[in-house]
């Protein structure tokens, strides 16, 4: 027994190994010694996933940039894009990113009303963004500018639609986090999930910055 504990680094590793039962008593996790806390490791791992997601989006951006001129005689971005709607969408997503940050502060300081309020506003803004985007897509398809019309429109719907799918998944995740906090409170593992959700939502906003610049502003201007 004593040799096992010595091999395990004088109890440090032992404590980390039983962290789940341990951090139920102490909500914030910290392991003294060389091992990093679970929060850092979880954040790092999720950040690597997000970077891989960004690389996937960059492939869609590359295909869009290659195909942007291939309109096959159909409508181009100049004929289709409504910059007023895009401005409203951008405002929705930027404000929702801000309120998502407020919600994560509320979670870390364990203020329930703050957390729920900010998450609700985030959800409403994200839903408004999705509504405008779906409305735009339906209008384009009704005008005969669906994804089958030209290579340009295929690339457009793939890129912007993929972002919309991410926002949809983010909204479902948001509602799940509210339900989990409601059912289980601000437990350490729940706080880590809120951290990951916040990173996901902010990253969606970063990708939207690229979309409204490359697709909408450049497409409508040229």
């Amino acid at each position: 027994m004593s040799t096992f504990e010595a091999a395990a680094g004088g109890g440090n590793l032992n404590r980390t190994g039983h962290e789940e039962s341990w951090d139920r008593r102490i909500p914030a996790e910290h392991t003294d010694g060389g091992l990093m806390s679970k929060r850092i490791i979880v954040g790092y791992g999720f950040w690597i996933f997000l970077l891989s997601d960004i690389i996937m989006f960059s492939a869609f951006f590359a295909s869009y940039a290659v195909l942007v001129g291939a309109t096959a005689g159909g409508p181009s971005g100049r004929d289709l894009f409504n910059l007023r709607n895009v401005a409203i969408e951008t405002a929705c997503l930027l404000l929702s990113s801000f309120t998502c940050g407020l919600a994560s502060v509320g979670a870390r300081t364990r203020r329930e009303s703050w957390f729920y309020g900010a998450m609700t506003v985030t959800c409403i803004l994200g839903a408004a963004f999705l509504y405008i985007e779906v409305h735009e897509f339906v209008g384009m398809v009704a005008r005969g500018a669906g994804p089958t019309r030209s290579a340009f429109l295929s690339a457009f719907f793939t890129l912007v639609g993929c972002h919309g799918v991410h926002v949809t998944a983010g909204l479902l995740w948001l509602l799940t986090m509210m339900a989990q906090v409601f059912a289980k409170g601000f437990r350490a593992d729940i706080l880590r999930r809120i951290l990951c959700f916040g990173l996901f939502w902010h990253t969606l906003d970063i990708i939207w910055v690229a979309i409204f610049t490359v697709v909408y502003l450049m497409g409508a201007g040229q």
Binding site: G11, R15, I26, A28, E29, H30, D32, G33, M36, S37, R39, I40, V42, G43, Y44, W47, I48, L51, S52, I54, I55, S58, A59, F61, A62, S63, A65, V66, L83, T90, A91, L94, L95, S97, F98, G101, L102, S104, V105, G106, R108, T109, R111, L195, G198, L199, H202, T203, D205, I206, V209, A210, F212, T213, V214, L217, M218, A220, G221, Q222
Partner: protein, 130 residues
């Protein structure tokens, strides 16, 4: 011994993306950081939308200006919203970000370069065949 110390002092020392030192009163500081980020991002967005529709600027410079503004806004998001900083606990995240940016740049410039070159050659071929 460190293992017998109270945990409340040290457990907020860890910093990861989206996570900075928070303890009660420091919530206001974090909200301030988000507010700065919101203000800068909103400013850059408004400038982007303004520049895209204006005739005040020389036309060909507009796409370049838009790209620069977008990259600046992404930087604002990374620093103020995702809290990717140059702190000692953030080295891994910054390195991963740098690698991701490298791959994205390779993918974008490589695709555009190759496809532009191929389009160029294809046009010459069409003209030859006519």
């Amino acid at each position: 011994m460190s293992s017998s110390e109270p945990e409340s002092d040290s457990h907020y020392a860890d910093i990861a993306p989206g996570y900075e030192r928070i303890d009660g009163d420091e919530g206001g500081e974090a909200v301030g950081s988000y507010l700065i980020g919101l203000g800068l991002a909103a400013l850059l967005t408004i400038v982007s939308f303004f520049i895209s529709g204006t005739t005040l600027v020389w036309g060909p410079s507009i796409p370049v200006a838009l790209v620069v503004l977008a990259i600046a806004q992404m930087g604002v998001h990374l620093v103020f919203f995702l809290n990717i900083t140059t702190g000692p606990d953030n080295v891994n995240n910054v390195l991963a970000l740098a690698f991701g940016v490298l791959i994205v740049l390779l993918l974008l410039t490589g695709s555009l370069w190759i496809m532009t070159n191929m389009n160029h050659n294809m046009m010459a071929m069409e003209q030859i065949m006519r």
